[in-house]
Structures are given as C-alpha cells and as structure tokens.
Symmetry: D3
Subunit: 253 residues, 6 copies
C-alpha cells in the first residue's frame, strides 16, 4: 500500500484533528513510500526498531512517539540521531497516535479496557479539544470492591499495582483513563462515578482518594496502553490485509 | 517558644531563600503565636491534622505543603477551607519546607538516604536556584548490582519498587534524588555516576535507562522523603527542647 | 438557611458568570454550613468582622472582597491570616460580589444611584464580559448644571467631592459608573451623554474633562458603592427572612 | 541655547537612565533647535500650551508628559494630533521628566516637600531601577499628630485632603512619596517610619492605615508635584540664564 | 472636502477593518480639516513631502506609512519629528492603506498586476484577517515560460528582476502577491498554481523554487506596489473631483 | 578524523557559544562517526547533497543550515524528511555555522570582504551575544565614491547590485555586514562610518540612505557569504589534511 493511502486511512479512522494533543499525531518519519508490513508498540524505542528490522517491517506505529513531543528540539544527533539513522537506513517509517488512541470509542485504550472489565461504555469525558480521551462505563449491576478488583485482575495480565478503595462498596459507574489520568478524578466524581481506573499515579493521588472517599486502581501506564496499538495491528491486518504485529516490550511503569 | 523565633530558627537552618522552589517554603498557616509541640510528616493531609489534634500539637511541619503550591487558588472553601478551619479552630500553625529538605547536606532526604545506604556524600547536583537539591555519594569500594540492591533493601523499610539495572556491574558513584527525580539522569551520567536512586518514575524512564545503559532504582516518592522530616523532628526536640514527633502515614507511591 | 442554598440564591440573583471580574465573585470563606444572620458592607475589613461578631452574624457579604483579588497570594499568615482566623473561629463565612453588584439593573450601585438622582435607566454600558457594569440614565427634561449638582448633593449623603462641569449646561443623559469609573468617559461621550457620575478619579481626569468639554462629578469610591450592599441586605431580609444588616464604615475615598 | 545642549544639561542634572520609568524621560517633541524661553508645569495639557504661546516660550517642561506614557499609540490625529500641531506650528518643544523629578535629592518633589515641612532627608526608598523615587526624612525632635498636621497645612498651599492618623502620636521619621505613592506604606513601616505623606490614595488605603496603625496624610497628586517643576524653572533661569517660568494650573486631584 | 468625509469615503472603499494589518490603516497624521489636493505614493518619505508641498497638496496617501508600523515608538524627535513638523507646518495630512491596497479586488496592487499581465482574477488567497491580500488569476490559454516572461516585461516598466523558472512550461494559473510575498508559495502550490509573481524575495526563495519545481518571478517591492496608489489617485480625481496625483519616486528594491 | 574531534576543532575555531544565534551552530545531522572528506557551501540544499555524494564526502558544512533555524518543526517527512533520508543513507553529516562565520576576525565573511576590498579591519560591531558579527574597516587613505565602487566590483565576482551613494565623497571608514545586514546602518553612522557594504536590503533601505545621507552598496546575500565557507574549506584541508572543497551554487539573491 502506498504510504500516502495508509496515512489517509489512519487519519480517517483516528481523526487526530479533533484532539488538542502535545505531540505529532500521524506521520513522524517518512522513510519509505510503501507500507508492506507494520509493527505496533506502546512507545518508540530502540528495541521496537530492532523488532521492526527483524520482522522486515517498513512501518512502525506507536502510542508514544518519543522524539516528537512538543518542545523537543529534534536535532538528529546523538541518541535521537542514531534512531533516525536506523529508521532511514532500513526504510522504516514511523506513525504516532497518542490521544486519538486513548479516546477512540472502538479501538481506543479506554473503550477496550472497559470491554475487558465487562463494562459497557456510556459516555466520554476529559475533553482535549473537541473529543474526550477517557470513558465512563457501567456494570450491568453494582459490584462490590472485591468483585471490582477481581475483574481488574482478570483484565490486566500483570494485575493491579495499587488499589485505593476508599469509596463506596457499591460500584456501578466507572471512569477509565489509561496512562497518567488521575487529573480526571474530580470530573469523574461530578459525573457520578463510583470508581476510577488509570495507569500511573503521583504521590498526591492516594491522599486525594482517601479524603474524597473514592475508589481508584492503577495498573501501570504502559500496561493500560497496550490495548489500542494491539487492536490497531489487528484492524490493519484484517481490513487492509497488510501484515501487522503488536510487539509488547513490557514496562513496569 | 514564640512562633517568630521558631520561624527564624527554621529559616536559618534550612535557608529557603537559596532555592528556587514552586511552593511556599516556611510559614504557611499562622494560627498560633506559640509553638509548644510539633508534628512532622511528609504531606499535609487530613489524617496529619487528626494526629496533631490527638497529640495536642500547635504546629505541623511538612515536606509537601498541599494547598501552598504555586498556581493554587487558595480560596478557603470546600475541602481546602475545611482544612484551614480545623487548623485555625485548633490553633495549629503549618510550616512547609520542600526543596530545602531535599537538598540539606545534613538533615536533607538525599544526604540521609546516602547515609542509610552506606555511601559518603561527595557533592551536590541538580541546582534549583543557588543550591543543589540532590547529592552525589560514593561507596568506599565498588559494589556489584546485587550488593547495591541489598543496601537499598536495607535502607528502605518497604524495599525497592523497581530495579532497572542496565548499567555497569561495578557501582561506586551514586546519584540520589528523592521524590520524582529522574530528570537528573543525564546530569548524573555527565558527572560519572554508576547508578541513580529516586522515588517515583514515569513511563519513559525504564526505556531511557535501558538505552543509556544505566542503573536506576526507585523506592517510592513518599518513602524516599520520610528521612528529612523525621530527622527534623529529632533536631527540634534535641536542640530546641520542644516535643516533636514524626508521624508516618505511609503512601505506596 | 443552608449555606449551599444561600449561595445558589445569590448566584441566581447576581449572575457572576456573565461578568469578567478580577476577584472572586461568590463564596470566599466557608466557615459555617448555615446562614442565620448576615452583615453587609462595602469592603472586607477588621471592623466589619468586629461588627459581624457583635451582631452574632455567621455571614458577611461585601462589594470589595479584600484578600480575594486576582494575583493576591492568599498565604494565611500575618494580617490576612489573622482575618481568616477570626472568621473561622467565629464561624463567619464571607461572600464577595464586585462587578455584579455594580451592574445589576435592579439592586446594582449604578441603577440605585440613578434612582436616587431622579434619573431613569435607559441602557447599560462598559461591558465586562457579557454584561455591562455601568448605566446610562436620563432625566425627564434637561436640567442645568446647578440643578444637576443639587440632585447629586441630595442623592449622596456626603455630597459631591469635585464638580468638573466643563460641558453643556443642558444635561439630559447621564452616564453612571460607581467606584473608579472614569475610564468610561470616551464611551459615554460616544453614547451621547451630557454628564458622568463616578466615585474616585485620577489626576488626568480633570484635564480630560476640561479638554473634551464634559461634565463630571465624583462623590467618593466608597460612597458611590454603599447602594448595592445596602439594598441587598434589605432584599435578603425581605425575601429570605434572614436577618440582614448593612453596616456603613465610612471611607473618605 | 541650542536644544541639544539644553538636553544634555537636563540629562546630566536628572539622570533619567538610572530610573525604570513608564514614560519618556527627556525630549518628547522636537519642534525647534533653540531654547530661549521655558515654561514648566505639572502636566502637559492644552492650557499649558496656551500659556507657552502667550509667554512666547519655545520649550515646555513637565512632570507628566501626557501622550508619552508607555503603551500609548501616539497616532497624531484627534486631540493628541491637535496638541502636536500647535506645538509644531508654534515651534515649541516638549520635555518630560517623571520619576527623576520625584526622586532628585535636591530639586525633586519629595526632597522639596521634606524641606517645606521642616524635615531633613536622611535616605531614599521605593527604588525604580537604580535610584529611589521617594525619601525618608526626620524631624529634629518628635512632633505630635497636631504639630505634624500643622506643618503640612503650612507646606501645602491648599492644605491636607485627608488625615488618616491611626498611628503613634510621637512622629519623628516620615516617608514622603508625591503623587500616587501609597504602595510604599509597607516598605515605610519596615524602615521605621511614623508617618507617610503622599498625594492621591485609593479606597483601600484608609483601611490599611487603620489596620496597620499608621499615620498618613495626602495633599493631592498635582499639589504634591508642583515642587519639582517649580524649582527646576528657577534653576534653569539661575544657572543657564534662560527665562523660565513655572505655570501652576491647579488640579484638585 | 472635509477630512472626515474623505476618511469615510476611503474606509468604505478599502474596508481596513477586515484586514489584520501591522500598521495604521487610515488617517495617520491629522494636520488639516480639509482635503483639497491629494498626492499619492508608495512610501511615506521626505521627497514625497517635498512633492506635496510643491503641488500645494494638503493630503498625502501612501501604501507604506513609515512611522506608523506596529512597535514603532513614534516619539516626534529627530528625523521622524522633522517629518511631522513639516506635515503640520504645511497643513498636510497623511493616510496609509497597506494590506487593503494589496488585496482590493478592483484597485488593489494584485488585481491591477493581473490586469496588466492579461490575466483574469479568479480568487483571493493569503488571508490576513477576514480578507485575502493576494490573488489567483488565469490566462485564457496556457502560455509558455517565454510568453509568461514577455507579459511580465510588458506589465512592469522596469522589467523582471529575477526569473526562477523551475516549474512547468505550461503556465495557466498564476498567484500574485506584490511586495514581499513569497511566503505564499506553498499555499499557491496547494491551490494548483503554475507560477508566482511577487516583488522582493529572500535568499532561500530561489532554492525553494528549484526544489519544489516552481516558476517564480519578482519585479521589485516598490515596482509591484505602484499600481494601487496610482489607481487610487485616479479614482479620487474621477469620483470625488479632488485633484489627485500619483508621484513615482522609484526604488530599485 | 573522528567526528567528535572534528566538532571540537570547529567549536574551538568558531566559538559558537559566544554568539546569540537563531539556528543550530555546530553539528546538525550526525550520520557518520568519521570525517574523511568535507564539502562546504553557503546554504544546505538538495544540490549541495548531490555534490557531496558525487564527491564521496561524508560531511557537509554550511553557513545557512536550512531545517535547523529556531521555530522550525523538524518533523522528518516530506521534503525535509527526504533530505535527512539522503544524508543518513549516504552517511553524510551536516554542520552549520551561521553568525560565527560572519563575525570571525580571520575567516569570517566580513573580515574577508574587507581584505578583498583593500580595507583593514579596525573593530567589530553589531554584537549578537558576546561577540560582534560585523566589522568596521578602513582604507589607508580616503577614496571617492567611484574608487569605492571600483574596489567592490573587483572584490565581488558578480559585482554590485545597487549603489545607493547619498553620502560623502570622502570614504575612509566602512561598515561591512554580509547577508541581510542593513539594520546596522544607524550603529555604523554613530561609529563614524562613511559607507556600508551588505548583501540583501529591504524596500525601506534606499529611502533611509537617502534621508540620512549615507553611502551603501549591496552585492547579494549569497554572494557576500561565500567568503567564510570557502576559506574554511581551505583551512580544513591545510590544517587538518582532510580533503575539503567549497561548492558554489550561485544564488542571485
């Protein structure tokens, strides 16, 4: 497939223009005019380039396009220059989709976490630009804290990192924001949520949960963000018939 | 002791004017003109106020003066208003010392972590204003990764949260920055360090350590910051003869 | 009455969201969950707290919420801390309404000055946000400068501070902006006004009036702003049946 | 005298480069290459141009160079254009000296007010740039509030506008800042002053004086600023032998 | 004609409010209340004032209102003061119209260049505010590079300064932006243009044209901007019956 | 030679840290760890990459590092991506030195223009950071305008583009600023210069020269900036014994 056509297909699917993001969303490195094999991963890093070379892929697609965040200098020297050199010498292009892969209602991280938890998405929240990046989802019936934790242990391969269950024991409505999403706690409370699922939290968050009497679990920044890029690899393979493979390079954070 | 005299003693000891901080360093709430009993803790929070009331303290001193960070509105309504109300009604003043309690060469978090690890401080780094907030410290001889981890497991009651040991197996020179200090990795490498100890890290840090071939462990934001406020309670009691007690409200982050 | 209900009643009446103000408009200090007696005044100050304590009030409402202007630090120490301490220890909450109490078409300072002068309000001007803070008002017939001054001497208990009557002797249409409102002179001229009433002026204003051949009187910043808070005390008493008293602590400026 | 030489004489005397001012300090309108007769006044205004024309002056020197403040547009149309037209058509240049004429230790407003009050200047304060704009001055012995007021009534032709005498009855050390100078109150208190003299104050100042227990009088913005330009006219006449006349166009503010 | 009426006629014709310009558009110097004779020119300069004086004009109208660009200080001293002095002493007002005289679809520089080249304007582009400043124009049939150059040599009295003809030899659709307009190259390419006409270019432009394979000629900043002010002189004379003369003070740039 | 050593040699020679520049000064693209053959040119462009490939060079050094100016995005896609791809695939690194190659007192553009004109450099001016980018140079004796022009026609292969000789006919002291340097005219006049040599000028410059009665010639932006990169190629070859070749891709601007 031509790179240009692949770009158009991705932009149509993920609609980056509707998000106010702080990185490039779309083509980051154009090193080839064709796309014949795709590797997806959470973060752009040396071992993902190794994997792409090994797979003879000519395209990498990531959720965290390291090197392409706002305010990065992008002078191709040193370690960043070395990454670019390997991409160009191996003819591998790079795509990054950040917030669009969190908020997508079908293949976004949060919608897929909801599905894995047995929740039904009912709404979006935490707008960045014109679209929400996080979801509100509901259980069919109220579940207890124990049942809630059990769902999470099942949904996340590596389990729950911390369970801060200071809220109600009747959990029905759950806010989900993958990555570092706890800034949405107050909005979630206003929206009537009983619990919050996120990836990575800061020191103040356990205190906030305790004092606001709220339930929150976090399961790892990386580990809450494998859902979108994994589903996108499947979608590329199924719909475009381009071989595509999600490569999981686990990260404890 | 008069509050004014206590303020002067603290400012002379901790020298907040030399640091460029992003919170109030010093007196945050003036609710009493005397200091007769002090409670110290890592973070200002409801349960620390409970503890102070129970201890009949008239002064709280913390490392994280929540409510007194730059850009906070400080309108005394809602949860923040409730905290102020309890402080004023119980006549309890609040002091916050943030970066000065990280960087102090005697009772700062980093100097005390070095001591607990069996390291000797040789220098400061990561300047914020005129003074450094982190330390460089050295073992008497090189230690292996295993020995390094063993020291850390001993120094921190709750142990090491993640060990990202991608660097040399000869560890002699160690950078220490409590809390969320990994932004100092490149400076530490430039200064010839073999390893880094910090509290809390973000998702990009394991990738950086792997690609720069560096050793880093993190042991919790809170848990690396109990050292300073604990030592300060002792110092207040010993030098000023004011009863002072460190209250540890553990935080997994 | 519950504080929350009182807040809602005030916000509905005064509509602070329509104004672009440079202070808090609404609840400033939440020191009680009930409102059983209200004291109103122009400016938040120690003697108004004395009055509230004496009146056994649990709520103060002011036009100038000192301590709650934009860019104030609000660290509760020193004089500001002492004010907060007294409010919390006596269980007295504070409300501030600034521009909404200038521009309200019924109980705002400017509408009430118009009424006291024998003028009929015909329009608003000097928009701050979506609503005007000042009014245009007309006499039934043209009045002379002498008659205009006589109306003002009657409307303001302490009289006119300076009469800069460089304009027409036929005064029909009058701009009114309480406080420090002379920045509206050019807009008032464009709108066909013959005279301007305000509170406090700067050194350049007499020169401007002379050179633009305009009539302006000023009657004191404080003294043009007792109208709104006085009327609001009456309205609270009459409509909510909560005892409410306007306390006038005169200010020559 | 050549305009260039006159400019040099003024700049050497008043040293505008040492002040951080918010208007032009120096030549504002160059309409003549000679200076043969000078008119001085507090503020640049139409009637001062009238006076200069009547006096056949070719130079006006003011303390308030209206039209030459920072952020003014200076498009020579309308009223400002008309002023420029008259200056150019009558060959009258304009000089403005603002802060340098407040802070000058010999012919500045504040030093001269001190002299008129029977005070001896001991120091400067309220630095703007490298030099102070206000002075600290002392009586030979302590005076009572009544004696202090009596001195002021004598020093200022139009007397005291408001006397806010909430401080000590033993007045020895006095801060003086002409114009709108009350922002210096806290600095004056820190410097041990017993009273403050200024020109124009805002609504919050009487409250501040009362609550900080301080003595302050204000005597008019204009009326505290006639001293410098009046003395400068004398100095020009005496030292340069250029006819120079201070024209007082009184302003109640 | 009264100046005020002339201003209104110009503003109605040229609609400056629709453009986001970086200079005054409209009356710049008001030195006369009448307009009886007009001189137009590209740039405000001493020799244009000479010409106006010689022509006994009381109004100058220019495309480049030097002295009235954003961020100019406009202190009327030195060379700028001398220009103002001459304007006021000779009673000559100044108008500037910058972007409105580039983009006007009838008497703007770009529309008139199109006409002189034998092109028909089909659209505007390069919006500044609500209106475009440049035009897209088309030949009836495709022309070769040679024919294109021949048209330009005919349309511009002083010919083409540089012909950077790296594009197609079939030229049908041409972008025109007078002055320094090459920043519009990429927009012109997106809009399907085969060539670009502008006035003045920077060092990078020949490289851009070569690498993007585009045709561009530039004919001088001044020389592409005589069209509008020349046509406006005619229009003033014909429609308002005020004598008006375009004075061409050639400029090689 | 190792790239790192070559970088050090260049930085020592050209001292980029002393200049406040608006592009990268130093290594821009690191595509090889060795330097065995160098191509220099004025501007980074496709044809210079062609030349480097043809010369089998592994290093390009330019004065204008296009792609590496401040505020450029540097997303390696499209035309910029294509340039990077060719550099990486051919193992060619890029260095840019901008202001340091204008201001160097031995091999800078301006010092070399002085030498070619028969002038002796006496000083630097137009500081950007700690160092000047332009030079003041003097003839042994005064020359006439004709002689001055003759020197310039000899010094610049393509001659003088415009001679704006409105100043004195006695030319002794000459300011030289290659590229687009006319913003230094007023500083040059203050420094007593009789003439100015630069590369590229804007429309206002001929008017300024005429009105300030100054002599200025400009000889092309590119053409005044071949001196430094040409001399640097020679110096690299002579001192480091690395083959180095200046490639002149002429540019009329």
């Amino acid at each position: 497939m031509k790179l240009k056509d692949f770009s158009n297909w991705l932009d149509k699917l993920l609609d980056p223009k509707s998000f106010k993001d702080y990185c490039v969303d779309g083509l980051c490195i154009e090193a080839n005019d064709q796309v014949t094999k795709v590797v997806t991963g959470v973060s752009f890093r040396d071992r993902l380039i190794d994997a792409a070379i090994e797979e003879k892929a000519d395209c990498i697609l990531v959720h965290h396009p390291n090197g392409f965040w706002k305010n990065e200098d992008r002078i191709p020297v040193g370690h960043y220059g070395e990454r670019l050199r390997r991409m160009f010498q191996n003819g591998i292009s790079l795509y990054g989709y950040h917030l669009p892969l969190d908020g997508h209602m079908d293949i976004g991280n949060n919608a897929l976490i909801a599905k894995a938890m047995g929740l039904s998405v009912v709404d979006g929240f935490m707008f960045e630009g014109e679209k929400p990046v996080a979801v509100i989802a509901e259980f069919d019936t109220c579940v207890s804290k124990e049942e809630f934790l059990a769902c999470a242990e099942k949904a996340f391969e590596h389990g729950v990192q911390n369970a801060l269950l200071y809220g109600s024991n009747q959990i029905h409505r759950v806010a989900i924001c993958s990555g570092s999403g706890a800034s949405g706690i107050e909005e979630a409370l206003d929206l009537g949520c009983d619990a919050f699922i996120t990836g990575e939290i800061k020191e103040a968050v356990p205190i906030t949960c305790e004092e606001l009497k709220f339930n929150l679990i976090h399961c790892g920044h990386h580990r809450t963000e494998i859902f979108g890029v994994r589903a996108l690899a499947d979608k590329i393979q199924n719909e475009l018939h381009i071989p595509a493979k999600f490569v999981d390079l686990d990260n404890p954070i």
